[in-house]
Symmetry: D2
């Protein structure tokens, strides 16, 4: 055995950018997710190297085989991989799996103009040995990212004031509710739940929560009338990134009653401003318990 004095343990050794088709069984259909994985285990100071070929073998066994036997979800695949990593790397105490996949849902502004919209799914799992002979504890994360639209509430007010110089009718009470011009942007919002063992949630619900928090979701197919309807809707729900994020957190606090308070929530929203070359961002992290407490005031 090699001398290990002065040798560092390492938190993570593994493979990244390994792409695989993952077949997932949803309630109503079977879908194949083109998925990008990073998997790793820790390396104790007593060991020179991690046996990296085991990672690729294990991913092949678990992921490639979903063609024949689909898994229930991206995060379920992550959990299975995180467990297997500790089995195949007996020297490791912890394992991590991070996955990112493109995902499609049939959506539309009206039933007859539904088509596939693209989203991003995020799955992750962390496994840890509890003592040298104890069972393995595994936690999982599930996340989603959805692109929607925002309309700025501030420019709406200042534009109304500026235009009222030229069009005094805008000061009439009858026109107070007229949606006013402002700037709109493509908004990209991400929501991730770190779940305690046993807790479950559907990625599709996360996507719905995100889209409900933007000024409007967006759709591939819009006829002229649909476009007007979406524009009016967005301008009647003008939102700063701060508003998108707070509305998201409020929904999270109230719409997931089955999730325990110990669920940890991470959210980030990015607006690709039309009036600037840069983006505007807001982010927050808190336990679901904290969010519920604030929300209940």
């Amino acid at each position: 055995m090699e001398p290990t004095a002065g040798r560092f343990e390492l938190h993570k050794v593994g493979v990244s950018g390994i792409r695989k088709p993952l077949t997932v069984r949803r309630s109503d259909r079977v879908v194949t997710l083109t998925t990008d994985f990073e998997v790793a285990v820790d390396l104790p100071s007593t060991r020179k190297g991690s046996d990296l070929s085991r990672n690729a073998i294990l991913l092949a066994e678990i992921v490639d085989e979903t063609v024949v036997r689909p898994v229930p979800s991206l995060e379920a695949a992550c959990v299975a991989i995180a467990r297997a990593l500790l089995e195949r790397h007996p020297y490791a105490q912890t394992a991590s799996v991070d996955a990112r996949a493109e995902y499609f849902l049939r959506r539309g502004i009206v039933e007859e103009r539904k088509s596939f919209e693209d989203y991003t799914l995020l799955g992750a799992a962390r496994s840890q040995r509890t003592g040298s002979t104890g069972p393995v504890a595994v936690t999982q994360s599930i996340g989603a990212e959805a692109v929607g639209m925002t309309a700025c509430p501030c420019a709406m007010e200042t534009a109304r004031d500026a235009l009222a110089q030229e069009f005094p009718q805008l000061r009439d009470e009858a026109l107070q509710a007229l949606p006013m011009i402002t700037h709109n942007q493509r908004n990209r919002t991400r929501l991730v739940f770190d779940l305690p063992e046993g807790a479950e949630v559907e990625a599709d619900e996360l996507i719905e929560t995100i889209e409900a928090s933007q000024s409007s979701p967006t759709y591939a197919i819009l006829k002229r009338g649909d476009e007007a309807q979406m524009v009016i809707r967005a301008h009647r729900h003008p939102k700063f990134v701060e508003d998108v994020l707070r509305d998201l957190l409020r929904r999270v606090a109230s719409e997931y009653p089955k999730l325990p308070d110990s669920t940890y929530v991470r959210a980030r929203t990015v607006s690709e401003e039309s009036i600037h070359k840069y983006n505007v961002v807001a982010e927050h992290q808190a336990s679901l318990g904290e969010l519920r407490q604030t929300s209940a005031v």
Copy 2:
């Protein structure tokens, strides 16, 4: 000498993704452009390989030395490199240089709120031997990409019609000129001129031509009143990508009288739609002569 029967000539052999700081002297200042180069020469069937180390040496000599002796422009550097490539690769008949750099200009909606806005510069050069002993012919390209804003003219009309149901005042003549809500987007427009030998143009002029063709340029610093002014301006110049591109071509036809008809113009505009997850694009290529002819009708 190796047998070359059945060996293919190759159009291009070279290096790509080679990054260098290029120092350029502008009218009023010296700037350093972080530049990405691809340079290549052709390879005749009589030769097994291209001497690639010469490319890196030559780039070091020409580009690294601009720290001491700045060049007048990105495209001037490309021309110098394209000439040197044929000197260093005596077996080659043609050489190509493609460069892309980030560029900054001080701009502002008003003088006192100017700051650096970021753009992309594109430079290129092609050199060719005219016979085995003749002189080398070199052409150059100069291009720029600028991000601005567009407002959709179509949704503006349909939104007005839809809102007029609820707000009949919108049908009053006095309110016909009131800018109406629509959707806005970040618009990215590229303009490139392939110049015959001897012709010259300033990259800053291309950026001005692009920005004048969008619904509005965008700025880093906008106070509340500025934002209203920019939003109103954009909504008073609503444009489809088709309009951005045609306005751009019209300006190109009229604003560059010194450039010869043989200048070749390539333009592409991309709107990152706020109401869709995908982009809308328009592109066109034509000689400046053709554009002038159409424009003159």
Copy 3:
């Protein structure tokens, strides 16, 4: 009708970055390709704008429906879309479709260690009206990109010479065939065929042609003995990018006897050098007829 004097025709107006799951029936299985589309039509000077919503509707009809009725290939989907574009945009004379998809094949250095390897597929189609009432002509392109490995032949020689100073045994005839150290790199090679109407080829064949032209294909799962075997194989087939490209062209010239001479071949290979921070590239374009002629010498 609006006045059109002085209005420019535009070569392309359409949508880009529209992502869809495309279901394709292969000989032995059904696969879903996460595909990125750009589709466009030309716009005559007589028309103010292109009806962009038709593009999204048509993509939904053709692509989304492959969930139920898979298409035979990515390029077949492109052809169907290019035809439909001219039907839905009666004012257009030409239409273009460009698609890019991630693709997986089960591959392995030995049968028992096969797993999914990732590749890129490229499909395209161009449609054109032949006269105002004539039939529509459609051409298609099919391409693939594969990542493999190269070993540099030049450093192999110079390293042998340098090491022979220290290890004179290397000059013995018995050790002349000993594979010598050099530098290896990740190599990314793309091959595209522009096919005349009626011609057909399988994307999997293109991937095989590419991988046979690199120093070695690469695999996800390699046990220690496999790794040695692959390293030896790559060092016994050392190749410059020039060699990869020429070997590729030679194979193309001989291995596709069913394709007509008018097939146009485009190839580019990029080595992500381990000894430099930049890449080395080679590219060539020629008709299959020209390649066959050179190859036959």
Copy 4:
């Protein structure tokens, strides 16, 4: 004042992807870094929105002005911005600045073949009010990323064993030290120090530490003899990612005696494998005190 019951505080509201030229004075020269900033402050529940225009104004004042008065370093600029953020956003308790810049150093395998090599610099700062009237505490981070080369030690051994079947001379003692073929890769290593207030370190030193930990640094210009020398050097220092990371941590523990034990060290190394399509990674985080303790054993 608006009611704030039930309104969430937010950890971060700001701007991202804002690009600026930052002029920095180094010991021997003045350089302009093309820099990408993300800046943000927290938002208390008592406030509806963050005043985002102040961020752009402040960046313009601090960064744009370095054209005239260069700052000593990227991280010094981050610290100045983090302080100014709390001055301009009096409602905020914390501010964060993250910056990423391309950076060039003149390097060469020999003095006469030096040229600019490209690196990435990472700077960051966090500021926090200590009580409502107390002074502001600021910490800074400084990091660098460098691309080099690794040679795999494992394949070297297995290749030797496999080749010894065919070339028994390899078993001679005289040839034991002959560098053996293996696979090489482009390696990308990042090192970041989170510094307590008052501590200082030079980015150039971090780059030297990284390059010394790889099998070999890489250079733009290599003549044939240089290439052989670099290949031999890399094969005489074969390293797994685990070795690169541990060597890096060992150097960090011994080569920065002026930095306090409370300095926090974050390191990640990625090898873009030539024998796989995916990457191999290793990462670790620890206080400098911990690293010194392990290293001293």
